[in-house]
C-alpha cells in the first residue's frame, strides 16, 4: 500500500478528507473494492472508540476527577463543620455524664477510661496519618 493511499485512508477514517482527496479515494476504491471493505471495518472501529471516548468525556464534564478550587472549599468546609459539630456534641455528652452526680461513680469511671482509651487510639492513628499525608504514593490515583 502506498503512502499517499495510507494517508487518504487515515484521513477518511477521521473524516478529514478534502473534496479533491475524497474524489481520488473514491476512484481508487472503485478499482479496489477489498480496500473499501477494510476501510468500512476501520470506520466501524472508529465509531466504537469515539463512542466510549465521548462517554468518558461526558462523565468528566459532569464532575471532574479532581474537584475545582471552589468545590474543594465547599466540600472541606462542610466536612469540617459536620465533624466538628459531632465532636462537640460527643464531648458535651461525655462532659455532662462525668459531671452528673446521679450517674454511679463506677459508670463515670468506665466512661472516663473508655474516653481516654479512645482518645489515645485516635491520637495514634491521627499522628500516623498526618505523618503519611502528602507522602502516600497512591493518593494520585483517581480511579
Amino acid at each position: 500500500m502506498n503512502t499517499e493511499l495510507e494517508t487518504l485512508l487515515v484521513k477518511a477514517v477521521d473524516g478529514l478528507l478534502t473534496p479533491d482527496e475524497q474524489a481520488r479515494l473514491d476512484a481508487y476504491l472503485a478499482e479496489h473494492p477489498e480496500v473499501g471493505e477494510a476501510l468500512e471495518d476501520d470506520m466501524a472501529i472508529k465509531a466504537i472508540t469515539d463512542g466510549w471516548a465521548q462517554r468518558i468525556q461526558a462523565d468528566a464534564d459532569i464532575e471532574p476527577p479532581r474537584p475545582s478550587g471552589p468545590a474543594r472549599v465547599v466540600l472541606g468546609t462542610g466536612m469540617v463543620l459536620v465533624v466538628g459539630a459531632v465532636t462537640a456534641l460527643m464531648g458535651f455528652a461525655l462532659w455532662m455524664t462525668l459531671r452528673d452526680p446521679a450517674v454511679p461513680m463506677l459508670v463515670r469511671a468506665a466512661v472516663a477510661a473508655g474516653a481516654a482509651g479512645a482518645a489515645g487510639l485516635l491520637g495514634y492513628v491521627v499522628k500516623v496519618r498526618l505523618r503519611s499525608l502528602g507522602r502516600d504514593p497512591y493518593r494520585e490515583v483517581d480511579r
Binding site: V83, E140, V141
Partner: protein
C-alpha cells in the same frame, strides 16, 4: 518516588505503568514460559477519611457515581498490584500470568483488594 502515571484522556490518573509484565492470560504470545516461580499475591485494605464517607453517604441519597469510593478502590488496586509485582520481582520473575483480582468488604467503608497470579520467567519463543 516518581513513577510513570497512566492518565485517561480527561486527565484522570488511572494507574501506574507496571515494571513487570502482568497479564490475565496463562500464555503470552511470542514468548514461552521458561520457569514457574509460583504464586504471588498482593493485598491492600484502605479507607477514606470520615469526611469522604459523609460525602459518599450524601451521594448515596441522590444517586450517581460515588467517586470517593471509586478513588478508594483505585488506590487499593494499585497498591495491591505493587505488592504483587514486588513479590514477583523478589522471586526473580519477569512476568506474572493469570492475574486475578478479588475484593471483599472487611468493614463498612473499607474494602480489601487482593491481586494474585503466577510469577514466571518468560523468554522469547
Amino acid at each position: 518516588m516518581s513513577r510513570e502515571l497512566i492518565r485517561s484522556r480527561t486527565g484522570a490518573v488511572t494507574g501506574f505503568k507496571s515494571q513487570v509484565l502482568l497479564t490475565t492470560t496463562d500464555e503470552v504470545a511470542g514468548r514461552k514460559v521458561r520457569e514457574v516461580k509460583g504464586l504471588v499475591r498482593g493485598n491492600s485494605i484502605r479507607a477514606r477519611h470520615v469526611g469522604h464517607d459523609l460525602v459518599a453517604v450524601f451521594r448515596n441519597l441522590v444517586g450517581g457515581e460515588i467517586r470517593e469510593y471509586t478513588k478508594l478502590m483505585g488506590e487499593s488496586r494499585e497498591q495491591a498490584l505493587d505488592r504483587l509485582m514486588e513479590q514477583a520481582s523478589l522471586l526473580g520473575a519477569n512476568a506474572v500470568v493469570g492475574v486475578r483480582f478479588t475484593t471483599s468488604m472487611v468493614m463498612n467503608g473499607a474494602a480489601e483488594l487482593l491481586a494474585y497470579g503466577t510469577a514466571v520467567v518468560l523468554e522469547d519463543a
